[in-house]
Structure formats: C-alpha cells, structure tokens
C-alpha cells in the first residue's frame, strides 16, 4: 500500500469516499423532500427502503466504510499538515482560499457528531426526548412522517439540524470542487463547471436540508 502512505493517495481516498457520502446525502435529501407531498408518499418511500432488506444493509456497510475511510484519511492528512509547519508566521495573509476551505477541519467533526445524533434521533429513535406520538421502529408500524414532524417540533432539535446542514453546505462547497481536483478532474475548459457544481450542490443541500425543519417549525407541515 505505497499508494496510501502518501498524502496524494490519502486525498484520493478522501475524494472517492467523500463522493460516495456526498452522493448519499443528495439522494437522501431528495427522498426526504417527499414530506411535502404528504404522509402517504413519505411513508410509502420509507416502507420501500425498509423492504430492501439485505441490499439496505449492504448499502449501509458501504456508507459506513466510506465515512470511516474519509475520517481516518482526513485526520492523517491534517496531522501531516500541522506537523509540516512547526513555526508559523507573525503575519499571515490569504488571497484566494475560502472560508469553506479553511473550516473543513472543523465542519467535518461537527457533521460527524450530527450524523450520530441524527441516527439516534430518527433512525433508531433512542436517546432523545421522544415527543408524544413518536413511534420507534421497534414499535412495528412505521410512521416516518409523524416522527419527523414531532421531532422537528422541538425547536432546539430543528436548530441543531439547521446548523449541521449549514456546516455540511460549507463542507461540500469546498469538498465538491476539491474532490474533482484530487482525482485529477480538472481542465481549464471545464473548471467553470466545477465551480458551478460546487455552488449548485452545496446550495441544494442547504435549501433542502433547512426547508424541512423550517417548514415544521412554521407549522406548514402538520402531524396526521
């Protein structure tokens, strides 16, 4: 594994694993937007996913593997870079780097914590003050729609989601263009599309992710 012993190899692993998780996030949010089509649509979608059985677990395993690889590689390259400049400057000025690029190492762990909370909150339903009406999966009938609505009616839960989604939006704004560069997808002729993809996908994630808790808080989406 000489490939992985280099930072270049680690960044390629981060790019591919990041891309897998990014792809999941986008599809996951598109799926979740079905909440705006009403309880039947969202619950049918949830039942369909649950019905996947083995395939669902295979997919979850791939996702978990990607997240682990992404975090391990991110931690390693970060430590390498911190060690590469033991003595800093009295004055540092930046010209082009973005806020998003400089906060990758803070946004990442924040998102990881959120993912844990999110799974405990809406997937397993444990470790959370469960509002009246909330049904855990162990309870039998799945009413994902109501669970989401009751969950987001707690204002601080919604606030946590919104903060995490905005952190994710920043992370992806740099991440999407960065991952293309890391795997060598760069050409002067397409670079404006790279920037477009970064803006488009990060804004989509922000808009989709914020819209759901916000709609519940505003009472636009009601439990059934």
């Amino acid at each position: 594994m000489r490939f992985y012993t280099t930072s270049v190899g680690k960044k390629i692993v981060m790019a591919i694993s990041g891309f897998i998780v990014f792809g999941f996030v986008v599809i996951h949010l598109v799926g979740n937007l079905q909440i705006f089509f009403g309880p039947e649509t969202l619950n049918r979608y949830a039942e369909m996913l649950q019905g996947l059985g083995g395939a669902l677990w295979l997919f979850r395993a791939l996702l978990l593997l990607s997240i682990v690889l992404h975090i391990v590689a991110a931690t390693q390259v970060t430590l390498q870079s911190w060690q590469a400049r033991p003595k800093g400057y009295a004055v540092t000025r930046y010209r082009t780097t973005s806020y998003a690029a400089r906060t990758m190492r803070w946004g990442g762990p924040l998102i990881a914590l959120f993912v844990v909370y999110h799974i405990l909150h809406l997937t397993t339903g444990g470790l959370h003050p469960r509002p009246a009406g909330f049904i855990s999966q162990a309870g039998g009938t799945i009413n994902v729609y109501n669970n989401v609505v009751y969950g987001f009616q707690i204002w601080w839960t919604s606030a946590l989601y919104i903060i995490a989604i905005l952190a994710l939006c920043l992370h992806l704004y740099h991440g999407v263009s960065s991952m293309m560069q890391s795997v060598g997808l760069n050409h002067p002729r397409w670079n404006q599309w790279r920037r477009f993809a970064a803006v488009f996908f990060s804004l989509f994630v922000a808009a989709a992710g914020v819209s759901i808790p916000l709609a519940v808080l505003l009472g636009l989406v009601q439990p059934v």
Binding site: V8, T78, S81, A84, V91, R102
Partner: protein
C-alpha cells in the same frame, strides 16, 4: 522614503529567533526590495552589527533564490513578481514592513531569512529528469508536439523553484512545485518513458521531505511569481492514480 522594518533575526538554527525593528530611512522609491535591504545592511555594518542574511542571486526574477514573506505575502504583495523585482514605491511612505523567512519543516532555517530548500533538489533528483542521449541538438521538428501541449509544458517549466508556494500554503505543501516539475516533462513526448515512475518517485520524495498535504486552497498559485496554475496539481494527481494502477 522611510520605513520601519521588523525582520526575523535568528543567528543559528538552534537559537530562538525574534522579530527585530530597524529603521530604513532615506530609501529611494526606485530601489528594489533587496537593494533596500542592502542599504540597511551597510548601515548595520557601519555600526558593527551583524547584517541581515537573505538569499538572492540573479536579481532579475529568474533564478528563484530570493523570496521572503513580506507582510504575510511570499515575495510581497505584488502579484506575479519575485521579491527582487518588487520596488519600494509599492510600499507607502512611513509604513511598517514585516519580513519573515519561508516557513516549513522541510525548509529548515539556516540564518535570519535564509532557509535550506534542498528538499526541492531531492524531489527533482527523484524523478524530475528524462533519460535521453544528450548528443548534439536535435532537429527542430523531428518529434511533433501539439501546440497546446508545448505551451502547457512551457507554462509548467516557468517554475523557478523559489519555494513561495510552500511558504504560502496553509499546509506547507509542495504540490505546486512538484506538479510543475512533473508536468513540464510528462506533457511532452520525451517525458513519456519515465512518466509512471516519475509520479511515484517524486511524490515519494515530497512526502519524505516532510511537506504537508494539499487541500486545494489555491494560495500557492496566488503567490507564485510565475503564476503557475494549480491545474498542474490535478495533472499530478491523475498521473499518480494511473501509475498506482499499473
């Protein structure tokens, strides 16, 4: 023109250095940055003090020897310019100028503003060459090269190896330098024989020297006196992937 300098002084690697203030008064606005340092040094010598050590050679922007971090910018605030080509008229009269060495673990400090950039030589030695019979000059168009390729190779070859990219990188990464030195050969037919081993060996040498990991901030390109593009970093990544799959 009058300036207040704050210069990093450190007599030897083992010593703990510090920023020391000097007054640089009566400097011509037409003086280059290095000429200004020469004047300050002459005055220090007259007072029997140790002059400020700094690297320089050609003073015409082509050798890559000069380059300190001036007010937070490698080679100073003027884009696409080496420090030797920066003139004092670019600094407002009465201003304070902070001068620090290029900082990276892979560039150990020797004295004051002078650092050891031989890590770059090791990267070149690892793969920045082609193995050809170096006889008499070959015929001009014996090997056809597409115009776009020739131009991109020339753009990469503009790198003078000054190390500003490393100094400006928040990660102290040497990816811009390494990728330019790799691409100037890999883009041309003559560079194809060692293309795979070049990617592996140059990256290996770069890692061994203790540079950081590129995270695509783009600061390197922004300070590069030759304005080398980060497109070459993607080129390196691509070559590295291809070489790893073989």
């Amino acid at each position: 023109m009058n300036y207040t300098l704050k210069v990093w002084r450190q007599a030897r690697p083992s010593e703990k250095g510090k920023l020391v203030s000097y007054s640089a008064h009566g400097i011509s606005s037409e003086a280059s940055f290095l000429e200004m340092l020469d004047i300050v040094n002459e005055r220090l010598l007259e007072k029997g003090e140790e002059p400020i050590a700094f690297d320089h050679d050609c003073r015409e922007g082509i050798c890559g020897m000069c380059g300190s971090v001036v007010n937070g910018y490698a080679h100073g605030h003027q884009r696409g310019t080496t420090l030797c080509q920066l003139h004092m008229r670019e600094f407002s009269d009465g201003s304070t100028i902070i001068i620090e060495p290029l900082r990276a673990k892979a560039f150990p400090l020797i004295k004051d503003l002078v650092v050891d950039r031989s890590a770059f030589d090791k990267i070149i030695a690892a793969g920045g060459f082609i193995s050809i019979r170096a006889g008499s000059a070959p015929d001009g168009n014996a090997i056809p090269v597409a115009k776009e390729m020739a131009e991109r190779a020339m753009d990469a070859a503009a790198c003078i190896g000054c190390g500003a990219c490393v100094a400006a990188c928040p990660n102290a990464s040497a990816m811009l330098f390494t990728s330019a030195k790799l691409a100037q050969l890999g883009l041309l037919p003559q560079g194809q024989v060692e293309r795979d081993s070049r990617a592996r060996e140059m990256v290996r040498a770069m890692e061994d020297a203790g540079f950081g990991a590129c995270s695509n901030h783009g600061e390197c390109e922004a300070v590069c006196p030759k304005e080398i593009s980060t497109n070459f970093i993607a080129f390196l990544n691509r070559d590295f992937i291809v070489s790893s799959m073989k």
